[in-house]
Structure formats: structure tokens, C-alpha cells
């Protein structure tokens, strides 16, 4: 291998699974992870004995790969546990691709689970402990209500600089809800209008409650193998065309320009390694922790010019029937968001590329872009391009 371009299409996702999405009362993080992992392995047509690579992360456990290998009783030869927040499970792709290409391992299970919504015991104590263990020394005195406050500061600056409006933000929430209404697995499926978003209880200006992602339970997993192994398994392989990750900061006060995220770096690198441009993308998954995120990422990833994300999403442009299908499962805003959402974006992209997305299926989907966001201020970004055999 001489360059990352050589990795294009060298691996494929052959199994996906979810479990406990929405509410899974009386289940632990590990229990929903295990059920999702089991579903993904079964979906792949491989057996547990084939799994010799493990990628996982959890916000409550710094050595979560140990917990996971023990619980699943596997002895992986490749372990990847980079934790950069919600984008982690997308950022796990490239190390896994390299490990598969080198022959270090033959089948990587990427898995995640959280029962953040229903596991309420000790929630306040855990938050206080985190603030002690890993403090934000220079921001904490001002009591930002994070993550909403940091993304609200990003949104406010974007509005000031580019004329983006609360109505633009509401378009993102309503589009997500309309997709969710087509997805039986989505958690929030009641009708939602722009006026309802605008008139709802404010959380952190300019965000109302509908501008903020859900807090749900849920587990998600997928299995990645070399492409030669992928053919002849249970499902049509979904090839990984590229993956690139960027981390620039942690605190919103350290973000050089609040209107430009590290997606402006991960995106172009991912497109270059895949030999594609935004015009080639049929279906898009953008990590929508807040309604400003898809607007920011559409710009940073090159779907529109900087500052035009607001007008890009106008008039249902990213909703069902719009010009670009974005967050077709309903996103973190209306489908599922158990602390970290990235793995669910990959699951949805695979379902779309298999043509197995039911009522919400995007016709002739050949290339999917999956973009993860992590940290409390768009701090980590990981972009992946996936495709069917027609995209190779």
C-alpha cells in the first residue's frame, strides 16, 4: 500500500445491527451493546469465531475495550478504542481498514451501547465526578449548559455572520422528523411544524427544545471485512471508499472560527481518497446533535458555499422529497441519540445502500456520505464515503 487511495473499496461492511433503540429500561450499556453486536454478526453471515478485531468506546469507561472483550468472550488481535466523542465509530473505520489490509485481523466488530435515557440512578453524581476528573477549568466558572450552550454559541455566530435564521434551524428539525415518520425504529415520530419548533421552550438561545437532539437508549454495531471475503456472504457488500478524521480543539472558546468546523479538513480528505465530490453523493448522514450541525457540515463538506447552509435547507430541501436526502433515519434529532450517535449513521447508510430502508428508501442509492461529530463544540469530525459495487 502506497497511499490511502489504495484502501478505496478494500474493505466492506457486511453486517449491521441495532438493539434497544429508544427506551431499554433495566438494561445496561453493555447489554444493549451485546444485543446489537449479536444482531450485526448474525446479519453478516459470519460466526462469532470469525470476529478477531474489536473497535468500541464508551463515555463512562476509559478502558471500555476490556469490558467489551470480556463480556463478549472474544480475544481480538486488533483493538481500536479511540474516543473522540460521538464520531468515534466512524473514526474507527480507517484504523480497521489498515488492520484488515495488513492481515492483522480478518473481521472487525465495531460496537456501541448506552442506556443513558432510562439509567437515571446517580446521573447527577456522575456528572459532578466527570467535572472533577476532566475539568473545563476556564469555561466551567461560567456554567455553560453543555453541550447546548457551546453549539448555541456556534449557531449565534453563524446567524450573525451569514444571516442564518431560527427558521433555517427549524427546517433541519422538521426535515429530521419527516424522515423519522417513515422509520418504524425512530423514537420521535409525532408531526412537527416549523412554528412548533420556533414557539417551543427555549433551552439555550437560539435553540428551543426541538433544536436539540434526543436523549435515548440504544445499541448499534457493524462488521467490517476485506472485500474479497465480503462477496458471497448474506448481503450485498457495502464498500468503504474512504475515511478521514480531524480534531482541532476541545472547548468552544478555543475554536478559531465558530463557523468552520474540522469537517472542512476531514471532508476534503475523505472525498480525495474516495475520488469523489459532493455531486456524486446520493444519500447523506450528518451528525445532528443540534440543528446548526447539518447546516455547518453541508458547508464544510462542500455541498454548498460557506454561509449558504441556511438557504440550502430551506423549503424542505433535505426532507423526504427534497433535493438532497439528509439523515434518512430521522437523525439524532428524531431517531436515536444515546450519548454517542455515530454508529447509527453507518447502520442507516448501509441499510440505504443495500436498498433495505423500507418506506424511507432513497431510490438508486449508490454512494453514501457519513459524517460524525464529537465533543461538546464540533471538536472532532470524521467523514466516510461508502458505496455499492456500482461505486467501485
Amino acid at each position: 500500500m502506497n497511499s490511502l487511495i489504495d484502501l478505496r473499496g478494500s474493505t466492506a461492511i457486511v453486517g449491521v445491527g441495532t438493539a434497544g433503540c429508544g427506551e431499554a429500561p433495566d438494561f445496561s450499556d453493555m447489554e444493549v451493546l451485546a444485543r446489537a453486536a449479536h444482531a450485526a454478526v448474525a446479519d453478516s453471515g459470519l460466526t462469532w469465531d470469525d470476529i478477531d478485531g474489536l473497535a468500541t468506546a464508551n463515555l463512562n469507561s476509559p478502558m471500555w475495550a476490556l469490558n467489551t472483550a470480556e463480556y463478549l468472550n472474544i480475544r481480538p488481535r486488533f483493538i481500536e478504542t479511540t474516543n473522540i466523542g460521538g464520531s468515534s465509530f466512524i473514526a474507527h473505520l480507517q484504523p480497521a481498514m489498515l488492520a484488515l489490509a495488513s492481515g492483522q485481523c480478518n473481521a472487525v466488530l465495531v460496537c456501541y451501547g448506552s442506556t443513558q435515557r432510562t439509567q437515571t440512578v446517580g446521573r447527577r453524581e456522575k456528572l459532578l465526578a466527570k467535572q472533577l476528573i476532566d475539568p473545563y477549568s476556564y469555561e466551567a466558572p461560567y456554567e455553560p449548559f453543555n453541550p447546548p450552550t457551546s453549539y448555541a454559541l456556534i449557531a449565534a455566530r453563524h446567524m450573525h455572520q451569514y444571516g442564518t435564521t431560527r427558521r433555517h434551524l427549524a427546517e433541519v428539525a422538521v426535515a429530521a422528523r419527516q424522515w423519522a415518520q417513515l422509520n418504524p425504529e425512530a423514537f420521535a415520530r409525532a408531526p412537527l411544524t416549523i412554528d412548533e419548533v420556533l414557539g417551543a421552550r427555549m433551552i439555550a438561545d437560539p435553540f428551543s427544545v426541538y433544536d436539540c437532539c434526543l436523549v435515548t437508549d440504544g445499541g448499534g454495531a457493524f462488521v467490517l471485512v476485506r472485500s474479497d471475503r465480503a462477496r458471497g456472504l448474506k448481503h450485498k457488500p457495502v464498500y468503504v471508499l474512504s475515511n478521514a478524521t480531524a480534531v482541532w480543539h476541545r472547548q468552544v472558546s478555543s475554536m478559531a472560527d465558530l463557523t468552520v468546523s474540522p469537517a472542512a479538513d476531514s471532508g476534503p480528505r475523505a472525498f480525495q481518497a474516495a475520488g469523489l465530490t459532493p455531486k456524486d453523493v446520493d444519500v447523506v448522514q450528518l451528525y445532528d446533535a443540534f440543528t446548526i450541525n447539518p447546516i455547518l457540515f453541508l458547508e464544510d463538506l462542500g455541498f454548498c458555499a460557506k454561509g449558504e447552509g441556511g438557504s440550502f435547507v430551506e423549503a424542505g430541501a433535505i426532507a423526504p422529497g427534497g433535493r438532497l436526502p439528509v439523515n434518512t433515519n430521522g437523525g439524532g434529532l428524531s431517531c436515536v441519540h444515546p450519548n454517542m450517535y455515530g454508529v447509527f449513521e453507518i447502520v442507516e447508510a448501509v441499510r440505504q445502500l443495500r436498498g433495505a430502508a423500507g418506506q424511507r428508501q432513497v431510490a438508486n442509492a449508490r454512494v453514501a456520505l457519513v459524517h460524525g461529530n464529537g465533543g461538546i463544540s464540533a471538536a472532532s469530525q470524521s467523514t466516510a464515503l461508502l458505496g455499492t459495487d456500482l461505486a467501485l
Binding site: 466558572p141 449565534a156 433551552i203 437560539p206 465558530l258
Partner: protein, 127 residues
């Protein structure tokens, strides 16, 4: 080492004594905030401590909505000091929803829940 304390301890020790100080790199002359051991611009390790002019401009602002019985709404803003560095802070002296991007503000030290804190007040002008 220009200080017997780490940069973070130096900053908070000064603040608790009522002094708001920031770093200035002796090699590249750029100001630095938050305090660090290595200049993030030129990567040299000798950073002086200086008193900023205390004036700055609101770069972004948000109001945290909180129930009245818990203390009510409050401001969280980002301010660009005239020295060219940015910090999270709170704008005092006006209702949180009236803070605007571009407002000129001046620093003051107030007693917060966990010791002295740098906040800002409007100067009554826009940048």
C-alpha cells in the same frame, strides 16, 4: 521556567488575589489564552505574564434558560480581548437576552460560586 508554578496554577493564583493576567510569548509577541506551557503559535516555552487592557468585543453570546426558582436565565458569551485572545465569560449589567455580538465590553473581577471570576460589562458602544 519563568514561574515556579504551572501556567494554570499561576493564572488562578493571580486571579484569586484579584489580578487578571494573560500570557504573552517572548519569542513571537503574541498573546495566549488559555494559559499554557508552550506557545501555541511559535512553540517556544518562554511566556511572560501581562495585564490585558481589559477591553474586548463580544464574539458570540447565548442565554442559558433556567427556571426562576433556580436563579433564572443567565448569559454565557465569548469575548475577544483587544490583545487578540478569546475567552468564555459572562456579560453582567444588562439582561442576558440583550447581549449582542459586537458589543464593546470591559473586564471586571467578581466573586463567583467557586472564587474570583472575570466577567465583562458593556461600554455602551459597538465595535
Amino acid at each position: 521556567m519563568t514561574s515556579i508554578l504551572g501556567a494554570e496554577a499561576t493564572y488562578f493564583t493571580a486571579l484569586s488575589a484579584g489580578n487578571f493576567i494573560i500570557q504573552r510569548c517572548t519569542a513571537c509577541s503574541k498573546h495566549v489564552f488559555f494559559p499554557r506551557e508552550i506557545c501555541p503559535h511559535c512553540r517556544t516555552t518562554v511566556l511572560d505574564w501581562v495585564q490585558p487592557t481589559g477591553t474586548g468585543t463580544v464574539y458570540s453570546t447565548s442565554t442559558v434558560r433556567r427556571k426562576p426558582e433556580l436563579g433564572g436565565d443567565y448569559d454565557v458569551s465569548l469575548v475577544d480581548l483587544d490583545e487578540g485572545v478569546r475567552m468564555m465569560t459572562r456579560i453582567d449589567g444588562i439582561p442576558p437576552t440583550e447581549v449582542r455580538i459586537g458589543m464593546r465590553v470591559r473586564a471586571e473581577i467578581v466573586e463567583g460560586k467557586a472564587g474570583k471570576t472575570v466577567v465583562f460589562r458593556p461600554l455602551g458602544e459597538m465595535a
